[in-house]
C-alpha cells in the first residue's frame, strides 16, 4: 500500500512538473530585462525553498529525537537532510548557470552566495559525521545536536537576502516584500513549481527513509549473527 501511494505521488509530481515546464517554456513570455534565461528562476527559487523545508523538517526530527529518543526520528532526520543537500546543490547549480549568463561569472563571493555555500558545507559535514560513528544511539545523539547547530546557517541563508544588499537580487515573492514586485502570472508559476518540487522531494525522502530502515534492520541482524 505504502509503495503504491509512493508511486502515485511520484507519477503525479512528474506529470505536474511536465505541465509546469510546458507553461514555463511555451506560455509565459520572456522577462523584459533578462530575456529567456530568467526562466531558471522557476527552479532556482523553488529549489531553495524545498531544501530549506527539508532542513527545517530535519531540525524538527532532531528535536523529536532529543526529546523522545526515538530511533525513527533519527531516520527521518537523515532522510530529510540528504534530500535537502540534493536540493541545495540544485539551487547552487541553477544559480551558477544564471550568474554565468547575467553577471558573466560562475560565482561571486557576495554574502548571500557565501551563506548558501556555507549551508551546503555544514550539512555535508553532518552527513560525513554520521558515516564515522558506528553505534546507532551515539550517532543519533551527536547527529541531532549537529543538525540543530547547522540549522542556524539555514536561517542566516534565508534571511541573507534581506540583511545584505548585494549583487544577488533581493526577495521577489510578495509575502516577503509586502508588495507586488513580480508579475502575478510569474509568481503563480513559482508557487506551482514549488508544490511540484516539494512533492518530488517528499517522494525522494520516503525512498531514502525506506533504505535507512532496511540498513538499520541489516545492522541489527549482523550484530545478532556476530553474537551467535
Amino acid at each position: 500500500m505504502r509503495n503504491k501511494i509512493l508511486v502515485a505521488v511520484a507519477l503525479l509530481s512528474g506529470l505536474y512538473l511536465i505541465r509546469n515546464l510546458y507553461y514555463i517554456l511555451l506560455v509565459l513570455p520572456d522577462e523584459a530585462a533578462q530575456g529567456a534565461i530568467y526562466r531558471i528562476l522557476y527552479f532556482h527559487l523553488p529549489g531553495w525553498i524545498t531544501s530549506f523545508t527539508a532542513y527545517f523538517c530535519a531540525a524538527v526530527a532532531s528535536i523529536w529525537y532529543l526529546v523522545k529518543r526515538d530511533q525513527r526520528a533519527d531516520e527521518f532526520a537523515v532522510a530529510f537532510t540528504e534530500v535537502g543537500v540534493i536540493f541545495t546543490m540544485l539551487g547552487l547549480a541553477t544559480g551558477m548557470v544564471w550568474a554565468r549568463i547575467i553577471w558573466g561569472v560562475w560565482w561571486v563571493w557576495d554574502p548571500r552566495l557565501t551563506w548558501a555555500f556555507v549551508c551546503w558545507l555544514t550539512y555535508m559535514g553532518y552527513l560525513m559525521l554520521r558515516g564515522t560513528i558506528d553505534e546507532p544511539g551515539q550517532r543519533a545523539r551527536i547527529a541531532s545536536v549537529v543538525s540543530l547547530f547547522a540549522f542556524v546557517s539555514v536561517v542566516i541563508t534565508y534571511k541573507s537576502i534581506d540583511w545584505w544588499r548585494t549583487q544577488h537580487p533581493g526577495a521577489v515573492l510578495s509575502f516577503r516584500t509586502g508588495e507586488q514586485r513580480i508579475d502575478p502570472a510569474m509568481e503563480n508559476m513559482l508557487f506551482h513549481n514549488m508544490v511540484a518540487l516539494v512533492a518530488f522531494a517528499g517522494v525522494l525522502m520516503m525512498l531514502r527513509l525506506g533504505q535507512e530502515r532496511m540498513q538499520r534492520e541489516l545492522d541489527a541482524l549482523r550484530r545478532q549473527a556476530h553474537s551467535l
Binding site: V146, L148, F149, A150
Partner: protein, 222 residues
C-alpha cells in the same frame, strides 16, 4: 557560578602548568604569519587584507587550543569522573569555555602586536572597537570550538571530523570579524553599514551559547 569558576580555574591551571596547547598555538600562529608573507605583497598597502589574515591566524591557532579542551580529559578517564560528579553539564561547559576564552585571549595578545609589526598594521586607531570585535568573535569561536570538542571527543576519526565540522560553523563569526577589522584598518572605522556585522556577532554569540548550554547534557551523558 562557583562550580563554573572551579572548572575554569582547573583548566587554566593545568594548561598554564604544562603550556601544551598554548605554546603550540602561539608558535603555529607565527608559522602561518610567515607563510602568508610568501603569498602576499606586504611591501605595498596591506590594510585591505590584514583584517582577513588576522582572523585566519586566530581561527587556525585557536583550533589547536579548542580541540584539546575535552580531549585532555580522556587520559585516566577524567571525563567520566567529571560527568559523574555532582556538577551540572552546563557548568562544566561554561567553565571550560571561559578557560578556553582566556587562553585564546592570551594567544591573540601575543599575535596581535607581532602581526602589527610584520604586516605594518596599526591596531590602535580604534582600540575600543578592536577590543569589542575580538571579545565577541573570540567568544563565538570558543563556544563552537568547545561544543564540537565535546561532541567529537569519543569519535574514532576525531581529528578528521573536527575541522570539517568546526570551520563551516565558524564562517559567520570569522566573516563578521574580518569585515569589521578591515573597516577599522582602512580608516573609516565602524560605519552604519557595518552594524549588520556587529549585530551578527552578538546574535551568533547569544544563539550558540544558549544552544550549547541547552544541549551539552545530551552529548556528555551517554
Amino acid at each position: 557560578m562557583g562550580q563554573v569558576l572551579t572548572i575554569a580555574w582547573k583548566d587554566l591551571r593545568s594548561e598554564l602548568r604544562t603550556k601544551e596547547s598554548i605554546n603550540a598555538a602561539a608558535a603555529f600562529s607565527m608559522v602561518i604569519l610567515v607563510l602568508f608573507s610568501f603569498v602576499l605583497d606586504i611591501a605595498g598597502d596591506s590594510r585591505e587584507f590584514a583584517g582577513g589574515l588576522l582572523w585566519l591566524v586566530f581561527a587556525f591557532a585557536g583550533a589547536l587550543v579548542l580541540n584539546r579542551s575535552f580531549a585532555r580529559e580522556q587520559p585516566n578517564d577524567c571525563l567520566d569522573a567529571l560527568v559523574a560528579s555532582p556538577l551540572p553539564g552546563w557548568a562544566l561547559f561554561l567553565g571550560k569555555a571561559i578557560a578556553n576564552f582566556a587562553l585564546l585571549a592570551i594567544v591573540e595578545a601575543v599575535a596581535l602586536p607581532v602581526f602589527g609589526i610584520l604586516f605594518n598594521a596599526n591596531w590602535l586607531r580604534f582600540p575600543g572597537w578592536i577590543a569589542l570585535t575580538c571579545a565577541l568573535a573570540t567568544w563565538g569561536m570558543t563556544v563552537i570550538g568547545t561544543m564540537f570538542s565535546a561532541l567529537t571527543v569519543n569519535l574514532r576519526l576525531r581529528e578528521l571530523m573536527l575541522p570539517v565540522l568546526v570551520y563551516p560553523m565558524l564562517i559567520p563569526v570569522l566573516m563578521a570579524a574580518m569585515k569589521l577589522t578591515t573597516s577599522m584598518l582602512t580608516g573609516e572605522g565602524v560605519t552604519a553599514d557595518d552594524w549588520v556585522w556587529v549585530k551578527l556577532l552578538i546574535g551568533f554569540d547569544i544563539i550558540f551559547t544558549s544552544l550549547s548550554l541547552a544541549l551539552i547534557d545530551v552529548i556528555l551523558v551517554s
